[in-house]
């Protein structure tokens, strides 16, 4: 006993050191030494800055490198205007189509059991992982001069390839998964109880869809449309294959960026690119906002 007391008195200085050691030890069960932390954060920040922030910043820097006036006149160029118009038209068509059919596809997958469901889901996912060039190629093979429907189309004087319909088709193909993919998990999670309740209360199928199903998934729909639109406006590979690059006619904004860039019209190329970059940034911001909404909806349905 006496020895212990003596110890605790004489050990006061090492004791302080032990405490300091404990202070260091207390946190390292779930985290790393400060030096390691700093290195990891630095690596992450440097990597993201180099590969993401700088390219993005560069687009705007280049677009405005000759001043605001040059920027605006590049955008006011007739070719630029026609590309912007075409991009909007194509995006509107493919978003519209994918909205309708994405809704139906998600509804069928989430609310019904049928054989071949997994295959259907895989099919929906496919355009995500197929090279955009291949997506364009399949339409050339179908509608091109030597394609399966090429002859028939020529006989009836219908132009699909190297015209707006081809661009819209290819864009619809590559953007197909967005709406359906955004809705399937949401609708699966919500189950069929509310619909069953509505039908048992005498609602028709359409009434059930518009009054019960749709309000429940509106944020999901918006989310899917947002991503679908961003990809539709920015699609390059597939559109490049089917467009034919007819100036002022079948050039979308991304295609025009390529042409202007290859002609060393850097300010004009980056001016168009800056519009697309803005679109991407706005999409990301809207996406973040929507994700918060979706999370809230999720919490609300849980409690």
């Amino acid at each position: 006993m006496t020895m212990q007391i003596a110890d605790s008195v004489s050990l006061s200085a090492p004791d302080a050191r032990a405490r300091a050691h404990a202070a260091a030890a207390r946190n390292n069960l779930r985290t790393e030494p400060k030096a390691v932390r700093i290195v990891i954060i630095a690596l992450a920040v440097i990597f993201l800055t180099m590969f993401v922030v700088l390219p993005l910043a560069l687009v705007f820097a280049q677009a405005f490198s000759r001043g605001v006036l040059a920027y605006l006149s590049a955008l006011a160029d007739p070719e630029a205007l026609s590309a912007i118009k075409l991009t909007l038209v194509v995006a509107a068509i493919s978003v519209g189509l994918n909205l309708v059919f994405g809704l139906v596809a998600a509804w069928a997958i989430a609310k019904f059991e049928f054989s071949g469901k997994t295959f259907l889901i895989t099919l929906i996912d496919l355009p995500f992982s197929v090279s955009p060039v291949i997506s364009g190629l399949v339409f050339v093979l179908l509608f091109g001069a030597q394609g399966y429907f090429g002859g028939w189309l020529r006989d009836h004087d219908i132009q699909i390839l190297f015209a707006v319909p081809g661009i819209a088709l290819a864009t619809t193909f590559v953007t197909f998964p967005f709406v359906a993919r955004a809705l399937i998990p949401l609708m699966q999670e919500q189950g069929t109880q509310e619909e069953e309740a509505a039908i048992s209360l005498g609602a028709s199928g359409l009434q059930t869809f518009f009054r019960v199903t749709l309000p429940n998934i509106k944020w999901g729909v918006l989310y899917g449309v947002l991503l679908c639109n961003a990809r539709a406006m920015g699609e390059f590979g597939a559109v490049s294959v089917v467009s034919g690059h007819i100036r002022g006619e079948t050039n979308t904004m991304p295609l025009l960026v390529e042409i202007l860039y290859n002609e060393y019209q850097f300010v004009a190329a980056f001016a168009i690119a800056s519009l697309l970059a803005m679109l991407a940034l706005i999409t990301l911001i809207a996406k973040t906002v929507l994700e918060n909404h979706l999370d809230e909806g999720h919490d609300a349905s849980e409690h």
């Binding site: 390292n28 069960l29 779930r30 985290t31 990891i40 954060i41 690596l43 992450a44 920040v45 993201l48 180099m50 590969f51 993401v52 922030v53 390219p55 993005l56 560069l58 280049q62 059919f101 596809a105 069928a108 019904f112 049928f114 259907l120 996912d125 496919l126 992982s129 197929v130 090279s131 955009p132 060039v133 291949i134 190629l137 399949v138 093979l141 179908l142 091109g144 394609g147 399966y148 619809t172 193909f173 197909f176 961003a230 920015g234 390059f236 590979g237 490049s240 991304p254 295609l255 960026v257 390529e258 860039y261 697309l276 970059a277 679109l279 991407a280 990301l284 911001i285 996406k287 973040t288």
Partner: protein
């Protein structure tokens, strides 16, 4: 229901069927000749080889980014978290011209690299860089939610059993992240293999050296050599199929082990 299936058939199945039908018009010998030609082989090698290398870089850097974003608090963390999605949202053509200008010999990063004797733009290194760019979100976004969901008790348990921090990370955390890491790797790889827009500007597109397979398809199409284009496309498509299939299996397998509570 009928409508769904017919729409799916129309927009996805028919075009893909067309592709395979077209490839069936080739005799196996023709098919083989196209694929084994030097230029095709080199294009496939460039696409698959560099895509794999880039996916590996993304696996490592993606893990580091996820760790920093999930485990640490630092100024600008939320902004960097949002920025991870940029390569996914930015149109590929824009990414392509931006990366090219950035890594060109007079570019912001190209100039200092050139001073070190490293040439990026218009070389295979440029392709590699572009593939890294587009692959980042895939690894980060598949691994991030899994790391967030790891129960703190698991790490405390490892610590109280005497494991050092390093042992806890290697033996406990990494294996838990394993399926997500592999999925992220596969997705980044699949995306990089098929990537066109962001790569062709910076690639230099020198046949046999810095020509990617999707570009070769486009070139063959513009030469009206549809058979060649189709053969290359079929190979790439089959690989994509296999990758998606593997990813789906991996996810199912991972899920079967997960519900521990």
């Amino acid at each position: 229901m009928g409508l769904t299936l017919s729409w799916l058939t129309l927009i996805i199945l028919i075009p893909l069927a067309g592709l395979f039908l077209k490839s069936l018009e080739l005799s196996p010998e023709q098919f083989w000749n196209i694929l084994s030609s030097r230029r095709t082989l080199n294009a496939l090698r460039v696409s698959f080889g560099l895509a794999f290398a880039a996916a590996c870089v993304n696996l490592v850097m993606g893990s580091i980014i996820v760790w920093a974003l999930v485990r640490y608090r630092f100024p600008g963390r939320r902004i960097f978290d949002a920025i991870v999605d940029v390569p996914f949202a930015l149109p590929t053509a824009v990414a392509g011209v931006a990366l090219t200008a950035l890594f060109a010999e007079k570019g912001w990063l190209g100039a200092p690299l050139a001073a070190l004797g490293i040439k990026v733009a218009f070389t295979p290194v440029g392709i590699f860089v572009a593939m890294i760019f587009i692959g980042i979100p895939f690894v980060v976004r598949t691994v991030q939610p899994v790391l967030q969901d790891i129960d703190p008790e698991i790490e405390e348990a490892a610590g109280s059993l005497g494991a050092s921090r390093w042992q806890t990370i290697i033996r406990v955390i990494l294996p838990s992240l394993g399926p997500a890491l592999l999925t992220g790797l596969a997705l980044a790889f699949a995306r990089a293999v098929g990537e066109y827009g962001s790569v062709i500007f910076i690639a230099g597109n020198l046949p046999n050296v810095s020509e990617i397979a999707p570009l070769l398809i486009v070139i063959r199409l513009s030469e009206f050599r549809y058979a060649d284009a189709t053969a290359i496309a079929v190979v790439m498509l089959v690989v994509s199929f296999v990758i998606i299939f593997a990813v789906n299996r991996l996810q199912r397998w991972a899920q079967s082990r997960i519900p521990v509570r």
